[in-house]
């Protein structure tokens, strides 16, 4: 324990160490980039880990085609400005077979299984990546709370929570057989409040959807879905204009906004610290018992 460095500096040092370990230990690593706030922090940490050199591995966005237009705009611009190698992969066959939008929950579970999980596994196999860095945090969800920093996946990309490897101190086991892989989570020990503090401290740019503004939405049981995805509108339904923002970002079909007037990072942190419900509750797709544990066993992040 040190009195001279802050908890954010300790978390940052731990994450930078993990990211460098990946670059040193694997032949063909990749960093997943979902364009969300955690991904933005991850990107900054990767830049710091190798500065003044470039990030020595590509960034991979597994695209579902259902993300917000603001996210695509942000992705293209940031990739152009920062100059890292960006790979975008889409499960085109899966996107062509999307179920109809009358039941958003069905679209979400299809999207999660076919577009995200299968899309990710196909992309990892196509490029023969042996390690994939992701921005998941243990605080987010109860099965993630159980996961190692270097999380072993078998040849099918599956996580077996009963067979996790020992992981002592800051020594990470990178040994795998052909076809197996490691998912790496440098942000394991960060909380949502830590992420926001770091974004403010480092002046990290994030997608504007995180800040409150008047947006056209439809209310689905308290979850405000964006009317930009017009397929979500029921016949004759008129979207409402509501001042709101997004606590997490995913697909337009499954990520809801919350009513909020927070337009600054300070206000967002105040909200995060006094929130009474977890952030993933605004995701249609995470609801249901043990859904994340099941998805991870299937190869999801």
């Amino acid at each position: 324990m040190s009195n001279t460095i802050t908890h954010l500096q300790q978390l940052e040092a731990e994450s930078v160490h993990i990211i460098r370990e990946v670059a040193a230990c694997f032949e063909n690593p990749v960093m997943l980039w979902s364009v969300g706030k955690d991904s933005s922090v991850l990107l900054r940490l990767a830049e710091k880990a190798f500065h003044p050199g470039p990030i020595p591995f590509p960034l991979l966005h597994v695209d579902t085609g259902l993300k917000f237009p603001e996210m695509y705009e942000f992705r293209e611009r940031v990739a152009r400005e920062r100059g890292f190698r960006l790979i975008v992969e889409k499960n085109e066959a899966g996107i062509a077979r999307l179920p109809d939008f009358s039941n958003p929950a069905r679209v979400c579970s299809y999207c999660s299984r076919t577009l995200k999980t299968e899309g990710l596994l196909a992309a990892l196999a196509k490029h023969a990546f042996d390690a994939a860095i992701g921005g998941a945090r243990r605080e987010e969800e109860r099965s993630r709370a159980k996961e190692r920093v270097f999380s072993f996946r078998d040849e099918f990309g599956a996580w077996d929570p009963k067979r996790q490897r020992p992981e002592l101190w800051n020594l990470y086991n990178s040994r795998i057989h052909e076809g197996e892989s490691i998912r790496v989570f440098p942000l394991s020990n960060w909380t949502e409040a830590d992420i926001w503090q770091y974004i403010r401290q480092e002046k990290i740019e994030i997608v504007p959807l995180y800040f409150a503004a008047e947006r056209e939405v439809v209310d689905r049981g308290g979850i405000l879905l964006s009317a930009q995805e017009t397929r979500l509108l029921r016949p004759g339904e008129k979207p409402q204009k509501i001042v709101c923002r997004f606590r997490t970002l995913g697909c337009m079909t499954c990520t809801g906004a919350i009513r909020s007037t927070a337009t600054t990072l300070e206000e967002i942190v105040a909200e995060a610290l006094t929130a009474t419900r977890s952030e993933r509750e605004t995701r249609l797709v995470d609801q249901g018992a043990d859904s994340m544990e099941d998805k991870k066993k299937d190869g999801y992040f």
Binding site: E139, L168, R200, E266, E281
Partner: protein, 174 residues
């Protein structure tokens, strides 16, 4: 330690953001240790609830799981026992990491399993700790597994060990 927890009020803190941005806080890593059923997960669940680190929807979920098992109220251990197999069997299989903070410190707590079969997972969780809380069930006293976890904690070089005597109400302590 009472097994039922009232849902915590989460007061709106008007200066919450200022409190976060202005201050320098330190990080403290703790791990629980001790024998099976000495109350490691329950103690951590209690700490999390009392520091308001558990969201309403997470508590509701825990209540729901407990009800389906025929229990009543909130079983605090279920807050950290996040795997399906753990909740079905009422045991901790692998280490869970949980987070809470006070105005002075940010805490990372590793809740480790007590069964001898899962000792390697206890070692994983304890290896990064600066403080180990070793629980002792007042009814059973020091067991082999208590000694083993204390020895492992010393072997790993954890600088601070705290012994917590639990379940004193069950031996009519007053």
């Amino acid at each position: 330690m009472p097994s039922n927890a009232a849902r915590p009020p989460r007061d709106a803190a008007p200066n919450a953001a200022q409190a976060v941005f202005g201050r320098k806080i330190e990080l403290l890593r703790m791990a629980t240790a001790g024998s099976v059923d000495d109350g490691k997960s329950t103690l951590l669940g209690r700490l999390l609830v009392d520091t308001k680190a558990v969201f309403e929807d997470q508590l509701e979920h825990v209540e729901d799981v407990n009800r389906r098992r025929g229990g009543e109220g909130v079983d605090l251990a279920l807050i950290t026992d996040g795997l399906r197999a753990e909740r079905e069997q009422g045991i901790t299989i692998d280490v869970a990491y949980r987070y809470f903070s006070t105005p002075r410190r940010s805490f990372i707590v590793a809740d480790t399993p007590g069964h001898i079969q899962y000792t390697r997972n206890m070692v994983t969780g304890a290896s990064t700790a600066e403080v180990a809380i070793i629980l002792v069930d007042a009814r059973n006293g020091i067991l082999t597994q208590t000694k083993r976890h204390a020895f492992i904690s010393a072997l790993l070089g954890i600088p601070h060990l705290v012994i917590a005597v639990n379940k004193m109400d069950l031996v009519d302590y007053s």
